[in-house]
């Protein structure tokens, strides 16, 4: 049981980093991206290839995954500068579709649909950290660092400027904010953190393929942020816990026959989510717009 809980906690921590990084875009900058799984994937493939070909150092993998995802985030930032609202959602959807095709076709980099297998156990400065508890501690430290960085940034002028853009882009521009630069920075930072989460995910799974970076994954992460509560530090974490732990808890229900387990779980899960959105439209940890 302990191993299972450690496993779930590690997965929740990795998705906590991912959701927090998307919250930076959606919650603070008002950039509704449904291509976040792409940058999660770039980080995962980068981390996996680094571990397979060179060294399975998790810190190096996180750095490499983050840097590459951040650099490639320009693919998302460029349309973000030109369009807003639902038009940006459509643009990010296009990027998501294109990236899935690239992940599937770039066999030498991603292994295609077969994916990358045999990712070595993670080390840190040559020390083996593959024990589930040790790896969880490392992931928690990364999550802590990410949350601290977001908190500091959002309380400073950068965060206030982002929130001003979110609330009214025209007004922010009229007050002299450099909107294109701020948006590019927000997208770059969010995608870098998604890349870090991806590298950790690759070590956690010891296998990556395109099925983990599809549109469904992007939507799941977005649901985590929205259900938890946007523009709050705790919101994405609450969303992650709910969306990952509720299905896990439902799998313990003893009265469901094996052939019906999926359908019953989905019904309960869907019902719970609907009720939640009715009673807490701003998300579990979210505040009303006026109090934010």
């Amino acid at each position: 049981m302990i191993a299972y809980l450690l496993n779930l906690a590690t997965l929740a921590t990795v998705f906590g980093i991912l959701a927090a990084s998307l919250n930076l875009l959606i919650g603070y900058a008002g950039i509704f991206s449904i291509a976040h799984a792409v940058f999660f994937g770039i980080g995962a493939y980068t981390g996996a290839q680094l571990a397979i070909l060179f060294i399975p150092d998790v810190l190096l993998a996180c750095l490499a995954g983050g840097v590459l995802a951040g650099a490639l985030s320009l693919c998302l930032a460029l349309p973000a500068l030109r369009v807003r609202g639902e038009y940006f959602v459509a643009a990010s959807l296009g990027l998501q579709m294109m990236a899935v095709t690239l992940f599937s076709e770039a066999h030498s980099l991603t292994g295609g649909h077969g994916g990358l297998v045999g990712i070595p156990m993670p080390t840190l400065f040559g020390i083996d950290i593959s024990e589930p508890a040790t790896f969880l501690v490392f992931c928690l430290l990364v999550l802590g660092g990410v949350l601290l960085a977001i908190r500091m940034l959002m309380r400073g002028s950068f965060g206030r400027a982002l929130m001003a853009i979110r609330d009214s882009e025209s007004a922010a521009e009229a007050f002299g904010k450099d909107v294109p630069r701020l948006k590019t920075l927000a997208v770059g930072l969010g995608c870098t953190l998604a890349g870090v989460a991806g590298a950790l995910f690759a070590f956690y799974m010891a296998f990556v393929n395109v099925e983990s970076f599809t549109l469904e994954q992007s939507i799941l992460v977005m649901a985590m942020v929205i259900i938890g509560g946007t523009a709050t530090l705790a919101g994405p974490l609450v969303g992650v816990l709910l969306l990952l732990l509720l299905p896990a808890a439902l799998s313990f229900l003893p009265f469901i026959p094996p052939t019906q387990i999926g359908a019953v779980q989905q019904l309960i899960y869907g019902g719970a989510m609907t009720l939640l959105m009715i009673f807490r439209p701003a998300g579990l940890a979210g505040q009303s717009t006026g109090r934010r």
Binding site: M1, I2, A3, Y4, L5, N7, L8, L11, T101, S104, E105, G112, H113, G114, G115, V117, Y204, M205, A206, F207, V208, N209, E211, S212, V238, L241, L242, L245, L246, A248, A249, S251, F252, P254, P258, T259, Q260, I261, G262, A263, Q265, Q266, L276, F279, R280, L284, A285
Partner: protein
Amino acid sequence: MLDRRSLLATTLAAGAASLAAPRILRAQEGAYVVGTLFPMAGPNAEYGTIFTNGIQLAAEHLRAEGMLKRPVEIRAQDSLATPQGGAVGMTKLANVDKASYVMLGFTGVSKAAAPIGTRSKVMMINGGGVGPDLANLSPYFWNVIPLVNQEVQVLLPWLKQQNLSRIALIYVDDPLGNGILQQLKDGLPGAGGSLVGSFSIPPATQQFAAIAARVRDTRPDAVYFASYGAQQAQIIKQLRDNGVSQQILTYSAGSIPSVVGLPESDGLVFTSQASDWSAPDPLTQRFVTDWRARYNSDPTSYNQNYYNAMRLFGLLAQGLEKADKPVTGENLREELLRVRRFPMVGGEGSFEDQGTMSMPMQINRIQGGSFQKIA
């Protein structure tokens, strides 16, 4: 009206329930726990049900025969057909349910579950995926289904015999599809044929009109498609709708009800492991008779595979009981390596070092909503 605290309390209660539940769910005293890790919801749920039905029938037969000294308890996990779902499900089966033997399917799920099962020394059995990359996955990972290269080898002589020399291939661009592409490229010249066109498709695509037009242009004698899931029926239907009237060929995935029951599938030929339901051996006869009585239809190859997977557990555990050894994943593997050959529905299955199994094969034709062996 619910407030934030009560909702948070609900969330915490769900977490607490997951902690407390193992006590409620403690395995029936002394039972052997075996796990299943299949998609049980969503577009691939059809497979989960097909696989599980075969396992349940085999478990009933084990019980009725009194084959084992202890009862067998089946614990199911929904893999969602995703690697992530596979990893979480496998961790629970290995660490919470303490399953020593887990039956799974789908390549992504298998690859994500294999490292976890290997670390926990859980015997993993695939009876669904046939991609060549499922060989040599782990010392604890075994296939009770011949992989696709064996299926193509069986088809080649039949193509020659039928004078079907110009073959066009539509394949999903994954290890399964690429495996079939390679087998056809290598094997067709030797059988007096040639691959006149090969068209790769993404796994989620549902529109094939353009592909059908390009296939028609190659003027093939037959069209082989290598796909799976809901996509299969769409390929067949749209090929026929777009004027491709040539012989359609596929591998064992063609045996699922959504393909067999499709009117456009009439005449479709697919390979599978031997599943001659009129074979006189008592094992096959009992399986077929009880299946027909319960489901009022013939079983599919997948029902057969997972029946065999569950039966294999019975045979291995029986061997361990006789040797007075505990039924653990490690011992089950040792027993399999010691015996190697097992009587199964469809014929004798022989396990090889790569984690693969060879078995008699056959060629089937779909006609009027069911399929018959033709070679």
